[in-house]
Symmetry: C2
Subunit: 817 residues, 2 copies
């Protein structure tokens, strides 16, 4: 046997020759230590099986019978042993070196592996007092697993110490990095499933080390669990040569250490030695950087742990492979209720772990094993970072009012809405140096937020070239996180928030769909947290969508998709908020509100180009507080019943709706137009369905119940219809929005294609005011012709006409109030 190699007795490992232990095994553990660690391991495995199968007879004091088995056996065994094993070995080092450590569980459905740890450490009983450390408590603990009204088979919010559910795969590494940024003492021990490792998001997240500062940030210690199998297939990384596997992680920038095998004695020694080596390596790297005050990117250590899937299960059942094969992925013997032989086998398997001795202390883990675990908050399942809301400190926010756009002439002043937001965010960064980060996929500058770099540059631990001096804005200790992976930055942000800090992600609107599923899952996490008493609230996940559809005319059809709002609107009203501030001051007001809020996903939609301004700061605050309101200065119904309600949500949509209003009033001065603007989208739905909803009475006061409403909407028009389908007078509601019509266009042409331009809106108003049908046909035709002329100009010149581009509200404000 090669030096340092350990005994291997399973084929899936031996297929590549002797297993490897990169760190030479010089028996760091005494045989007594090995024995105890192994006993602790057995205790956790016993609990895992108990969770999968038992509703009674938890300590197997009686012979196992059908009535002790759950009617529906659910759960997964595949990665439980590997995860327990890793956790337990970290316990030794936490105690030895007083580590501050968190466990992130990446492999799918591996919850028993870590729930068992939480129970053994006593945290589970502290958090859930009915799950006591005795026979009764254990019975309740077992029964509640994957049981209606109980807890799930992932590291759900109910799991002490978890900030990563792992229901959807692929985000363990990015979550882990998010958790350790600005937590310099924290080590996130991160188990990565080899199934999960095949996903795109996980595959690129290994590069996160290029954004980790060894002075100011903590460390992520990944343990890639080469379990060998997914549900029904081998895993890619378990079926490439050792040479390729090692090269891959060196290429990703890590120093991989291998722990491979199944023999318990040698595996304990190997894991103990290797994990200790890695922890010391991390400490050494940090010491070097911190003492020298010079940050650098080392090859951070990581572990490749190759163990059989379903490790410690029977090798075969009925002549079919179980341990070391995909059959051990889920419940190993799902038919124990109907197969007496399997019931018998289960009993002997469970008994083989020795529950009588392990839990001899009246059903509680015996003291000599208890002593292996850390105590208090050093227990990974009790680390406060795992309940990050506890650590959350409100942001020290500058007064957003002082950043307001001054001397607004409504509908006339023109500025970029991001200009002042960028200054505000700059100062948020400056005042919250370890508590706030800005995230973006290489778009922060493009999104006109470059001002923030004055307070915090872009974190960059890759190589530096001289040319970076020429406006590169890169720094080892930056505050802005940019990588061209929406998945990674979203994962970082989620991890950062869930571990108690604050952040904002800015992105082009069209490509935010890339992380639909991640945001969905975060919403579900937040909603579930509301049901978990001990979970403290975390900062909201703030997403700023810009470079929006109506100004993606030049980039074309692929860059036009405002449909993220539909995805968000499907999530629980308890946790989602959507804002469409029409201008710069309202954007500031909304942003301030979002940064103060907790437990939401806030989506803010605001374009980055120059746009008309409408509201003074005081007006903006009032308008955003109400979420929807009549703009008197743009209306001429003066409290009477209007002929038509012109409504809008979104900056460009408001611009065109206002221009349409002006057309109507210029050419049809007898028409009374009421102008309504919506900032807070969920104001549109009934108050019974969303906390921000409004009553029908309020609805009627704004929108009337019998007048035509021309609603110019930023996104797909159907979203407004689904929010308002029960409203009085909804049949009078004509919603315009993006209808998937686009190409390389000018802004005006793009609007015309989707009938959201001023002329289309004004024509819609005429068509829906009955008394105009016979009287306004000449005006209507004029609008049609003006629209055609403007289109022709765009196609001829490649740009919109001066008149279209520089349109301003033509009525003085004061006369209108």
């Amino acid at each position: 046997m090669a030096p340092g190699a350990i005994d291997v007795n399973i084929q899936s490992i031996s297929a590549y020759g002797p297993a490897r232990s990169t760190v030479k095994v010089d028996k760091p553990l005494s045989s007594d230590e090995v024995h105890k660690i192994n006993e602790y391991f057995k205790a956790s495995l016993y609990l895992c099986l108990g969770m999968l199968y038992l509703r009674d007879n938890p300590l197997l004091k009686e012979p196992l019978k059908k009535e002790h088995i759950k009617n529906r056996v659910l759960g997964h065994w595949g990665s439980d042993a590997g995860q327990s094993f890793t956790w337990i070995h970290m316990n030794r080092l936490i105690k030895k070196y007083s580590l501050d450590s968190l466990f992130i569980s990446g492999p799918g459905h591996g919850a028993p592996g870590i729930l068992s740890q939480s129970y053994l450490e006593g945290v589970y009983s502290e958090v859930y007092p009915d799950k006591t450390e005795d026979e009764d408590g254990m019975r309740r603990f077992f029964k509640s697993f994957s049981f209606p009204g109980g807890i799930g088979s992932h590291a759900t919010p109910e799991t002490p110490g978890s900030i990563h559910e792992g229901g959807e795969l692929g985000y363990s590494i990015s979550h882990a990095f998010g958790a350790v940024y600005d937590h310099p003492d924290l080590i996130a021990l991160t188990m990565v499933g080899d199934g999960e490792a095949e996903t795109g998001p996980l595959a690129t997240s290994w590069h996160s080390t290029k954004f980790l500062n060894p002075i100011t940030d903590g460390a992520v210690l990944p343990v890639l669990h080469l379990n060998g199998y997914k549900i029904n297939n081998p895993t890619l990384l378990a079926r490439i040569s050792h040479e390729e596997l090692e090269a891959l992680f060196i290429g990703y920038g890590w120093a991989p250490y291998f722990v491979e095998g199944s023999d318990l004695q040698s595996m304990h020694q190997s894991m103990a030695a290797t994990l200790e080596h890695c922890v010391l390596d991390i400490k050494e790297i940090q010491k070097k950087a911190r003492e020298s005050k010079k940050a650098f990117r080392p090859r951070w250590p990581m572990i490749v742990l190759r163990t059989p899937k379903g490790w410690t299960a029977p090798r075969e059942v009925d002549g079919k492979r179980l341990e070391g094969f995909w059959r051990s992925h889920q419940v190993p013997m799902p038919d124990v209720l109907t197969n007496p032989d399997h019931l018998k086998l289960l009993e002997s398997w469970m008994k083989s772990y020795g529950p009588d001795e392990l839990f001899a202390n009246k059903g509680k883990l015996i003291p000599e094993l208890k002593a292996l675990a850390p105590t208090g908050n050093s227990r990974m399942s009790a680390n406060p970072v795992g309940n990050g809301g506890l650590l959350r400190k409100p942001l020290d926010l500058p007064d957003f009012r002082t950043y307001g756009v001054q001397k607004i002439e409504p509908g006339v002043s023109l500025i970029g809405n991001m200009t002042n937001l960028a200054k505000f965010l700059r100062d948020v960064i400056a005042k919250n140096k370890t508590n706030f980060r800005l995230f973006g996929p290489d778009e922060t500058e493009s999104n006109k937020l470059g001002e923030v770099y004055k307070a915090g540059k872009k974190v960059w631990l890759g190589a530096y070239f001289d040319e970076d001096q020429d406006g590169g804005n890169l720094a080892m200790e930056g505050r802005v996180m940019e990588m061209l992976s929406e998945h990674t930055i979203e994962g970082w942000l989620e991890g950062y928030i869930l571990s108690g800090r604050h952040g904002l992600l800015n992105s082009y609107e069209p490509f935010i769909h890339i992380i639909d599923s991640m945001v969905n899952q975060h919403c579900k996490w937040l909603e579930k947290c509301l049901e978990v008493e001990w979970r403290a609230k975390v900062a909201s996940l703030n997403i700023l969508l810009t470079a929006t559809v109506w100004r993606q005319d030049h980039n074309g059809f692929t860059h036009q998709d405002p449909g993220f709002l539909d995805v968000v609107a499907n999530k629980s009203p308890e946790v989602v908020r959507i804002y469409l501030p029409p201008d710069g001051n309202s954007l500031l007001s909304v942003a301030d509100h979002c940064l103060r809020s907790v437990n939401y996903v806030n989506v803010i939609v605001a374009d980055k180009q120059e746009h008309l301004q409408f509201l003074s700061m005081e007006e903006a605050i009032e308008h955003c507080t109400k979420g929807v309101g009549i703009w008197d200065w743009a209306s001429n119904d003066q409290g009477e019943e209007p002929d038509v309600v012109m409504a809008s949500a979104g900056d460009v949509a408001t611009h065109e709706a206002l221009a349409a209003t002006a057309l109507l009033r210029q050419y049809l001065p007898g028409v009374k137009v009421r102008f309504v603007n919506v900032v807070d989208l969920f104001r549109l739905i009934p108050e019974t369905q969303h906390p921000h909803g409004m009553s029908d009475l309020q609805w009627k006061a704004l929108f009337t119940e019998d007048k035509p409403i021309i609603f110019n909407f930023h996104s797909y028009p159907f979203l407004v219809h689904r929010l308002t389908y029960r409203r009085p007078g909804q049949k009078n509601l004509h919603v315009r929005g993006y209808r998937e019509k686009g190409n390389i266009d000018t802004p005006f042409e793009l609007a015309v294609r989707n009938e959201t331009d001023r002329f289309s809106l004004a024509i819609a108003a005429i068509d829906n005011i009955p008394r105009l049908h016979n009287t306004a046909s000449a005006i209507r035709e004029k609008f049609v012709n003006s629209q055609i002329a403007a289109r022709n100009t765009a196609f001829g010149d490649g740009v919109d006409s001066e008149e279209i581009r520089t349109w301003k509200w033509p009525f003085p404000k004061k006369e209108l109030i």
Copy 2:
């Protein structure tokens, strides 16, 4: 200088010491060849700049003036040179070795680089007759680029030879693999942007080689373009050491060859040698496998091409870096209209490429350069694979009727809906051995489609272990593609379809959101293709969603999300179809229809568990053809006006709606219930909005205009509301569906939480039939109590009661017709 190294004159490359040319440069090209290739290169670069800037004076015969410049200069210069360079060098080898090759353009906005090739090859003029190869044609060619009504800055459907738009980044490699599967002679030369390479989907798609058979499939030759910069940031892969970079690709399973530099002479020699080496390597691998008839996974060759971003642009403008820096990403000098110095500089820059000599043949590329390009379909821009619809052969489909579930007793028979579909798909695979593949993220077996392995196993070029004999179903020449990356399998499928073949993707419903954005982009591609005359229609993208929300009770909240339908419904009605077959026979009918269709994205939602059957094959065909219909056997209104319409869409939803109907009829026999089932979701919208839509007249005939409609819907209820917001009687429409309420539940409990269970539906009916308000209160209470009792059972036993689980339609069918 190291042997084999080439001259390097830019810092961003020299920062890591001498640039590398892995293949020793022994001057494969004569100096005449270098000269000509370089002239061709200059011609393409000239065209690129022309596209960005000019609307007139295309050959710069007159001094360049403002009026020759587009009013809005749009486009990207950054990767154009590198892409042109690569294309041109491949041309040489296509001619030398009679290669069948396709170019996939991954870097963002790099269209000028490949449009220029298409124009130089003459294909552009063949396809667009007004874009002739003369001064006038060139002017029109320039003007139409990034111009309203023209073409976009990606490799849009209008681009000859393109099957990969690249508007959203990350899918070049997976598309390329999709294109070469079952195209054994094809080489997909695939340019990968180093920005794109940071995305998750791209990062994992490098593993695709483990699914490529060197005998039956073609080859992908990636050229990773280390351009150095994204929009405003350096790229990760350009800022890691050579050692890491090389290791990374070895780890991914490739043999990377490096071509680095900026000096044109040496770069031509290096690229010529390296590309030729790679092509010969591919041919050698294929020869070895094909002659021996033994497939294997080699280290396929790839190229890392490190050139300056914006290569051949001025090094600096106004003392600021341009070439080799992120400033060359977009239009290098966007202010030429207002800055006369820059206009002058542009003119001299463009002139430096020598348009007078290059296009001396009356504005056409001179013959000695023309001769460098291949001819006919050997031109990459004319490869028929790039217009895959041309190659599409209809599937040889077995008669789906023969797979039908026999002897259906409606509402009584119970089978798994996938059972017969699996047999049908098995035979589709068997009859279409090189024309159809099935795709899934490790879920095909779990989704009960394992029967297909009898006709085609899972493609696997990773290592084999002995244990694979035990039901592994792996094969070098399989027909089922499984990798735990929804992104990769979707990319493969898209590439496979776009290059002329057929396929179906099966996935758990909840995680299909992972590819929301990819499906969005594919829809946009298809829609745009409808406007491009020469594009032949391709097979539809078929997505089968199973393991659906209502049977994800046990996996919990993270596995419950039917919202993909909302994303799809936002796309153009021309290209999207959504089907919710209620049972096995209707699933077969729908699947057959989808496999025959072209140019759609078809989404089929059907759960994988055992479910009630409702329709004989003939009934199913009729029902699916209509898309929606009254089920007479389940109705008792016998042609009269009903008291209530009970409607459903989706298998589980139909089951519960039927059970509710039975409750009403059993306990309130005087109530007339009409039962309507919807298969084709777009039947619900007006015929003016979707080709499948129905008129209000048809609507009223089915749903009435004044009776309460209780609609039990598979997905989020709002989707039905948005589709029906204008329907007569829509205020009577009460839609039930998933309302984001879930946990670890039983199926019944999950339904109750969302009020989609039989009791909730029956109660809703009672509450909405006015005449029952005073008469049915006892029955209503009974339903309430039955619901409570059933919930208690679930919470107590962990499973639903026998009564709930085994409910069957209690009325004989014959009495009802």
